[in-house]
Amino acid sequence: MKSFSLRALAIAVSATLAAVAPATQAAESVKIGVVTFLSGPAAGPFGVPARNAAEILIEELNAGKVPGPHATKGFGGAPIQMVLVDEFGSTTTQVSEYRNLVQRQNVDIVVGYISSGNCLAIAPVAEELKKVTVIFDCGTPRLLEENAYKYVFRTNAHSGMDSIAAALYVASTKPGTKSYAGINQNYAWGQDCWSDFEGTMKAKLPAAAVTTSQMPKLFAGQYGTEISALLAAKPDVIHSSFWDGDLEALILQAAPRGLFKKSTVILTAGETAIHKLGNAIPDGTVIGARGPHSVFAPDTEINRWFQKTYRDRFNTPPNYASYHMVQAILGAKTAYEKAKAAAGGADPTQEQIIAAFEGLTYESASGKVEMRNSKGHQAIQETAYGTTKMVKGQLTVTNVKRYPADMVNPPEGVKSADWIASGFKR
């Protein structure tokens, strides 16, 4: 046993050294670090669909098969090399993995982060290491409202938009709403979404009152009691920013109890559930996709290509997390190529990429993206909500209402919460 453990140690040490030695790379390729949940509860609904999207997009970009404005191979002709990292684990682990990507793997750009806690923690490190970092999914408005960052870009609109548009949808489709309630996960995302929704409702439908705000623990899984409380409160409208298994469990447990019939339920992140759980979502449920993604995406060439390629490979349609990932990589690509052109065809520096990225407007699979807020670092985009309806056993989204970017995103320099509190002054 003595020699065995020694040998085990020796193996462990050599494995460490092997893993630690910098990977060799082709000089001319552009290396992108992709950080997304590969394990943990967020892997299934967000992380893995996003990774899948990154995989096929990078493959197809390298093959030059992406149609429309993004037809150039790779990033400005240079092939893309992807380094994948799991976002699961503590924030400290994430910071250390980020340093690893930048300082050991020498990636050119980092694209990633679903968790708000992680993106908040990574941003100052990106500044410190001077590496262009594109946040693709994290929702918290605090990221770019509280600090001005040079190297950090976010290509999806922040979560304020989701809740504001949800309340606008209620105001226009159910103007007679007398009462509303919420069921949101008890952590930053759920708390923020609920207060934004409540704030907008107060401004748009001041006569409506809150009956109950349920805040179950994240990943609780069992919502029987909360559903009873919601049923008993009899609100006209119920707001929920649930996602992942919690969202699916809520739908499964609430639908048979008639909650969706008695109240109009708005699921701001509901789109991730419709592909897997379509037949369990009752008609009349209001669904959002955190932007004009997936079922709300415009009928463009690039979207048709993305839908088809993704379905062919993974036998399921891409969800909004996949769209967010595509939007981020295409944003980075556009900025990179613009910078390369400006540099006269030479590989652009980080500073040149930043100059090109700031204020950029580009076309993604979800339509137009404007890097307009937070000094050109924060994307704004239109968004949409719709109501589910079963047509011949197929879940469709009807009564879709689209909200232009300016209507649901605060003006430059104004914090989302202040904007809502001000009654949406421009």
Binding site: V48, N186, K217, G221, G245, P256, R257, K276
Partner: protein, 298 residues
């Protein structure tokens, strides 16, 4: 009035679920003095086993109402396969280690099992809602409750009563109780501790799997579904008194009702109400409500 009824029903249903997921944990601790963190992973495996077995049943054209058979069958299948593997390979050789070391062993097993589930079934969620939807719902006052939830109540009652009967009336049950009370004396009296440990651990696994299988129809089945459950089950078991079956029942009821009251009357408090109950109970009764007496001589 209807609120009181709702609190009672919601509390009972939640307590039934808690009891189902916690009873195996307390039994294994009582007999083997192992705080089995892998219980949570076994719960997950049970849910996945139910998905696979029910899937096979449906694919094989089995009767629609017969789906409850493979659902429940997931428990003994997991118990008989996973239980002996874990006990024989990992727990038996380390039996004489301290409680905390054993707890870490099961924590390691938990990590391994959770990733193994990912290798086998992937990270995409599975849905097994047929057993939940099939029996429909009933209206109580103006609230609709799924009949399936009352099935859960019955399952918890059957498990609780069955276990109580087994431990108090059957011969093997009395031997198990003797081991709970004093392992050395029971051994001296001729109890085959090896066999008892194997059986009890496998049975504990089966109970965890039963919890997972019966929960599967109400949730999306994902690899990490056991993480929250293990912490909850701990709280219930600690409140009730580790190793006590009746304690697990009372712990489940206490947590169930307190939580139902919180959700209906003070939803803000839901987040840490369980830990608050746990800390309070421990401060008042350091060994939980019903810690089984252990022999200590000086």
């Amino acid at each position: 009035m209807s609120e009181a009824v709702a609190i009672f029903l919601d509390g009972s249903i939640y307590a039934a679920w808690l009891f189902l997921v916690a009873v195996g944990l307390t039994l294994v601790y009582g007999v083997m003095k192992i705080v089995n963190v892998a219980h949570g992973a076994t719960y997950t495996v049970g849910a996945y086993a139910a998905v696979s077995l029910c899937g096979a049943w449906a694919a094989g054209g089995g009767n629609e109402w017969g789906i409850y058979l493979p659902l429940v069958l997931a428990a003994p299948v997991v118990g008989l396969i996973l239980g002996p593997i874990l006990e024989r390979l990992f727990l038996r050789p380390l039996r004489d280690e301290e409680e905390t070391v054993l707890m870490l062993v099961t924590y390691a097993l938990f990590l391994i099992l959770e990733d193994s589930v990912k290798f086998i079934w992937g990270v995409d969620p599975y849905f097994l809602s047929e057993p939940y939807l099939l029996p429909g719902g009933i209206d109580i006052f103006d609230l609709t409750y799924p009949v399936y939830n009352f099935g859960m109540l019955i399952a918890a009652t059957v498990v609780g009563v069955g276990l109580a009967w087994f431990l108090s009336k059957s011969k093997s049950g009395r031997i198990v109780r003797a081991v709970i009370h004093d392992r050395e004396v029971a051994m001296a009296m001729g109890a085959n501790v090896d066999r008892i440990y194997l059986a009890v651990f496998s049975f504990g696994c089966a109970l965890a799997a039963l919890g997972g299988a019966l929960t599967a129809p109400t949730v999306s089945v994902i690899p990490s579904m056991g993480v929250e459950v293990i912490v909850l089950a701990f709280a219930v078991v600690v409140i009730g008194g580790m190793g006590s079956i009746i304690g697990a029942l009372l712990g489940a009821l206490l947590v169930g009702f307190v939580r139902a009251m919180a959700v209906h009357l003070l939803p803000e408090a839901e987040l840490f109400i369980i830990y608050l109950v746990m800390a309070t109970v421990l401060l008042v009764r350091p060994s939980g409500l019903f810690a089984p007496a252990e022999a200590r001589k000086i």
